[in-house]
Subunit: 318 residues, 2 copies
């Protein structure tokens, strides 16, 4: 399918076009420039909520419960499950298919997994691009769920309008993980599996952690919601907290700032990719092979060789 | 310690200086430019052997056995265990300390683990830099072992003079993993735990895989060695194959080409890091914030914003 036709079909919310566009994002297709340009005027509307947390806290279950809540309010929902560590592409994972069953006949729900091979070189525009596709397709809400745990996962989930960090009782790790860099991105905490032993102590730990940060009265203080997502308990309250946070962002002007920051990251990631491509071409002309030979023999240090290449690249780009 | 003094101490093979220099590499210290420039004239001598393979095939055990073999031949050996997925720095892991015990009193052996957070943005110069440190310190042989499995691990181990891919019987995965991109980097295969059931069928699978590739008579055909590294069985033969491969590289001029390619990757990784830093500064001047705001609102597409930034960057670099 040619890019203009694909853009049109995505805007109409056509399932197969959506799936195709996200596969093109996964594969770093050359058509992306044209597709993203075509979709741009139709973006900037969807509300994006990120979910992160250690494996086993119930991310999929919670996301699924939030989908039900949003649907009950008449909102259309897309779910994007991003796995930054997977080198494998190719659409829906098993988990998707299971989850899909509940919503299979609902045209207001779209669920998709995506590999994000950012660690292999600068594809960190992949998640923003996929959000752009779903946004242009007209979904009211996009839920981004990261698979696995780690800095990359936190960064992805943190690029949302509202970021939910999930913990679970009896998983000492989950609060520990939350401490490691997650506190900065958390807008709302959910203690899932709150019917289990230890839920109160998890709550207490989180409260202490949240209290440790100085905040002005105007600053948002992350609330904690107790949920049992598998039984839909606490999910309405979770949704209320998400609404409150979104209203807070809108009132204070932070929503625009967050979205600007997200777009800024996306643009910078594209720039790095363009530079990488140019470097390959410039390197041939600038004698990278000769420079590298000198470096390999110890006759030149790698930084002085890099300086030569940077200078050539500058002349080429200007 | 100032860079010139550290360089001097590294050249003398001082343990603490080596450890310190590799920690500076892990942390992306600003001193690296000066240190690498100081070390450059003393590099290009060490022979580098990479080891990769799925978890559980016995990488550490095999590496350790190869250390013993090399020491028996009077060669000094450094082992660098690289974990590309770990965000944690800070020197020796538990595995190192266990392995260290055998060689603790041997001044001819140095073992060190290193996190390589390449996936968080372009630190793919980290492994080449660490090799540079160990090379300048005068080790005859450097063994690079990757922890975990994945494309990043294969790429790291593949940047050696000779790359060993390890498999083990009864691990269907290990040959499968070997098929996925590993065949291109493998110079020698080792079927470890060769006393276990299924070793013959693993051998057969590998043979078939190797046979599938067309080669001229001059081209190196990866040999397969059966080892039980935990009992030092087959390790002398493994060493012989490593020697033969190295002699083949030297005779055909491929050794220089491989080392040139490794240095070229290192230089390109430095260039990308320098560009990333410049982009941050140029972005402020070029109004990245304004551009990103337009992108966030759908009034501009991210690629056209990237083009503006690339042009500014070109003017800045030239």
């Amino acid at each position: 399918m040619h890019a203009p036709r694909l853009v049109e079909r995505v805007r109409e919310g056509d399932r197969r076009a959506l799936a195709r566009a996200i596969t093109l994002v996964e594969n770093g297709s050359e058509q992306l420039r044209e597709i993203m340009a075509g979709l741009a005027p139709y973006t900037g509307r969807a509300r994006v909520v990120g979910f992160t947390g250690s494996p086993g806290v119930g991310k999929s279950t919670t996301t699924n419960a939030v989908v039900r809540t949003a649907r009950a309010k008449g909102l259309t929902v897309a779910v994007l499950a991003v796995d930054p560590s997977s080198p494998f592409t190719g659409g829906a994972l098993l988990g998707d298919r299971v989850r899909m069953q509940e919503h299979a006949t609902d045209p207001g729900v779209f669920i998709r997994s995506m590999a994000n091979r950012g660690h292999l070189g600068g594809l960190s525009w992949a998640t923003p691009h996929a959000l752009r596709v779903l946004d242009a397709a007209g979904f009211d809400v996009i839920l981004v769920e990261t698979v696995g745990v780690g800095q990359a996962e936190v960064e992805i989930a943190g690029q949302a309008d509202t970021t939910v960090v999930l913990c679970a009782p009896g998983m000492g790790d989950s609060v520990q993980a939350a401490k490691a860099g997650v506190l900065e991105v958390a807008d709302v905490f959910a203690v899932n599996k709150a019917d289990r032993d230890g839920a109160r102590s998890t709550l207490r730990e989180l409260r202490q952690m949240i209290a440790m940060k100085d905040r002005t009265d105007e600053e948002w203080k992350p609330p904690i919601v107790m949920t049992v997502a598998s039984r839909d308990e606490g999910v309405d309250e979770l949704w209320e907290r998400l609404d409150e946070h979104f209203a807070h962002l809108e009132a204070g002007g932070d929503l625009a700032a967050r979205r600007r920051a997200r777009a800024g990251h996306e643009v910078q990631a594209i720039v790095l990719d363009l530079l990488r491509a140019r470097m390959g071409e410039v390197g041939d002309d600038a004698g990278l092979d000769t420079l590298a030979g000198e470096v390999a023999q110890g006759r030149r240090d790698p930084y002085s060789a890099a300086d030569v290449l940077v200078k050539e690249l500058g002349a080429d780009l200007d």
